[in-house]
């Protein structure tokens, strides 16, 4: 009986180790493929921007491509975000940015990535009718796992910084958190 128990524990340990080993191989494998995905989730103005606008839901689309360096990828991310205020002011955002994604060297069944990037954000403010592009920066993190050979599921959190203080008369910038669940697909390009 004791031997059977010991054998069972050893067998389980072996299975877990084998799973982790195969996950490590698969992690690296699917990270090295071009990917196209969508995300959907709450978008939240924070800091001073949080006093002006109300949280809402946003939706986005992204594409990622390999670099010669194994742990780093380049991504192009765009989204649609609409914010209302307590009054009649409203802001529609359409950020378009490039980012670099770094696969953290942590050996877990899930994949952890850090990301940082820059780009432009199309802004439309109502009822003033101001419509323009602003420069923006972003940093974020993402945890993902494979859902079959083709698809991956991820949870992502990004901080978006819309830079405006360089303009005449500007006293503040835009600060947003985009949290989302995303689904993306691997391509054999």
């Amino acid at each position: 009986m004791r031997n059977r128990l010991l054998l069972s524990v050893l067998a389980l340990m072996f299975i877990f180790a084998a799973m982790d080993l195969s996950a490590a191989v698969s992690r690296k494998k699917y990270f090295n493929k071009p990917q196209l995905g969508i995300w959907y989730g709450p978008v939240t103005p924070i800091l001073k921007t949080g006093e002006l606008l109300e949280p809402d839901m946003g939706v986005g689309l992204f594409f990622r491509y390999n670099l010669p360096f194994d742990s780093v990828k380049l991504g192009l991310d765009t989204s649609y975000q609409e914010y209302k205020s307590k009054g009649v002011n409203g802001l529609t955002m359409f950020p378009v940015y490039m980012n670099a994604l770094y696969l953290l060297p942590i050996d877990l069944p899930v994949r952890l990535q850090g990301k940082a990037g820059a780009g432009m954000c199309k802004l439309y403010m109502e009822p003033d009718g101001i419509n323009q592009w602003d420069p923006m920066l972003m940093v974020g993190a993402e945890v993902s796992f494979p859902a079959g050979k083709l698809a991956n599921i991820a949870l992502r959190v990004d901080y978006l910084f819309i830079y405006e203080e360089y303009m005449n008369g500007a006293t503040q910038n835009g600060h947003f958190i985009n949290a989302a669940i995303s689904l993306y697909f691997n391509f054999n390009l």
């Binding site: 009649v88 940015y97 490039m98 432009m120 323009q132 006293t171 503040q172």
Partner: protein, 447 residues
């Protein structure tokens, strides 16, 4: 590797393209800034509101301010008429503000204002409303969505069969609380003229209250501040009215306070109070205004107005509102009684009133001499409406002193024509008859 370099370059070029063509308007700063300030006042005058005739002394019995639509018999029969006093406060509830139909504020704003000369609402300073900014552009009207307008002091009397006894103070819900008063907002529709139309059920006269911005407002974000001043004539414009109803078969009368029916006369037993809310708006940019200071002896002690055109006829009516209503003649038919429930007293009252109604109706119709009553009936009310619908309040209005001195401050740049009205204004009345021109040949130009 070369292919990868090419792809990186392509991505980088795309990113560079995105950085081209940045905007120049700080949107987040703009979101936090309020450049359009809306100030609301309860006075007829834009400068130095009249104070001497402000009869809001609670000790003054209201009977002398009762409208002629209040049934005299019912009042004199009751012992408690001396208990009617003028109201002591005005309450209103604004839900939304729009400019040219475009929303600029959806903040609920609930104001309770004591009826007192020293209140900012009545002393010429005004109360600032909360709103957001509109887009750059030109605006001609402001729409004020007013949920309720209430004066306190409304009293309910119940019939004892021979007299009307005081029962209780009328209550109404205001800002989610029971308050003493009567909401006269619901009654602000035009008697006859509105109710005769196919779209009567959807006709709304107060939600929104459409207010002209005379001279227009050119809003430009490059100005740090733009003031939009709205004036609603409340001060010296309050009257007592009567609202009759049956409550479980018992005849009751509510005496309440509303705005004067000077323009659209209210007759006995009518619950509609006409569209008798008079308001005007004007706009200016602080620092970009002028002052009109003049002395015109002919205008001494008279109301003086400055308007941006020569349409002075819009600022008065040709004869009193009561006379205009009388001129409707035979077409101003009596009000039919309302069947008021299953109680024997009220049913008997109804049939008695109905007989009286039929008699009055036939009496009126006897005066008719035409051949097409329906067409003539419409024409009579359209003529009446035409004589009252265009009346407006001047954007700059004050009273000259005994030497004819007067001043208009914060005048938007432009050309103005100045008129005076020969007769000093009576309480609860506005302007009847022509305005007299002071400088129709020499417009005042504000630099």
């Amino acid at each position: 590797m070369n292919i990868n370099k090419y792809k990186i370059l392509l991505f980088s070029a795309f990113a560079m393209l995105l950085f081209a063509g940045c905007g120049a308007e700080p949107i987040f700063t703009e979101l936090s800034t309020n450049r359009l300030k809306i100030v609301i006042k309860g006075t007829l005058e834009s400068e130095d509101p009249v104070t001497d005739t402000f009869d809001f002394t609670p000790a003054v019995p209201a009977a002398s301010y009762a409208d002629d639509s209040v049934d005299d018999e019912k009042i004199t029969d009751q012992e408690s008429i001396d208990n009617d006093f003028m109201p002591s406060k005005f309450m209103f509830d604004i839900s939304e503000i729009k400019l040219n139909g475009k929303a600029i504020g959806n903040y609920r704003q609930v104001l309770t204002i004591p009826l007192n000369d020293s209140e900012p609402f009545f002393d010429g300073k005004g109360i600032t409303l909360k709103n957001d900014d509109p887009g750059n552009g030109s605006y001609n009207t402001v729409q004020l969505y007013i949920r309720k307008m209430i004066f306190d002091g409304a009293r309910i009397y119940r019939s004892t069969g021979t007299v009307l006894d005081f029962e209780e103070l009328a209550q109404v819900i205001f800002h989610e609380d029971d308050v003493y008063g009567f909401n006269f907002n619901n009654l602000q529709v035009n008697s006859y003229w509105d109710s005769l139309h196919d779209n009567a059920s959807s006709t709304i006269r107060i939600y929104p209250l459409e207010i002209p911005i005379i001279g227009g407002m050119n809003y430009d974000r490059s100005n740090d501040e733009t003031i939009l001043e709205i004036r609603i004539v409340i001060k010296n414009f309050i009257k007592m009215y009567e609202y009759d109803y049956y409550d479980e078969g018992i005849f009751k009368v509510c005496h309440f306070y509303g705005l004067s029916d000077w323009l659209r006369d209210v007759r006995a037993d009518e619950s509609d109070m006409g569209r008798n809310i008079h308001a005007v708006a004007r706009a200016y940019v602080p620092g970009k205004t002028g002052t009109i200071t003049r002395t015109d002896v002919s205008a001494a002690n008279c109301y003086v107005m400055a308007i941006p055109d020569t349409n002075e006829e819009l600022y008065s009516i040709t004869s009193s509102g009561s006379a205009l209503r009388t001129s409707v003649g035979w077409a101003d038919l009596p009000v039919a009684p309302v069947y008021s429930g299953a109680h024997i007293e009220s049913v008997l009252d109804y049939y008695c009133n109905y007989e009286e109604y039929k008699y009055s109706w036939n009496d009126k119709y006897d005066d008719y001499t035409g051949s097409d009553p329906f067409t003539d009936y419409i024409a009579a009310w359209e003529t009446y409406e035409g004589s009252v619908e265009n009346f407006r309040i001047a954007p700059y209005l004050t009273v000259a002193d005994g030497s004819g001195n007067y001043i208009f401050n914060n005048v938007q740049p432009g050309t103005y024509y100045i008129y005076y009205h020969s007769a000093p204004l009576n309480n609860r009345e506005l302007f009847v008859g022509s305005w007299n021109s002071i400088n129709s040949e020499t417009p005042v130009t504000v630099p």
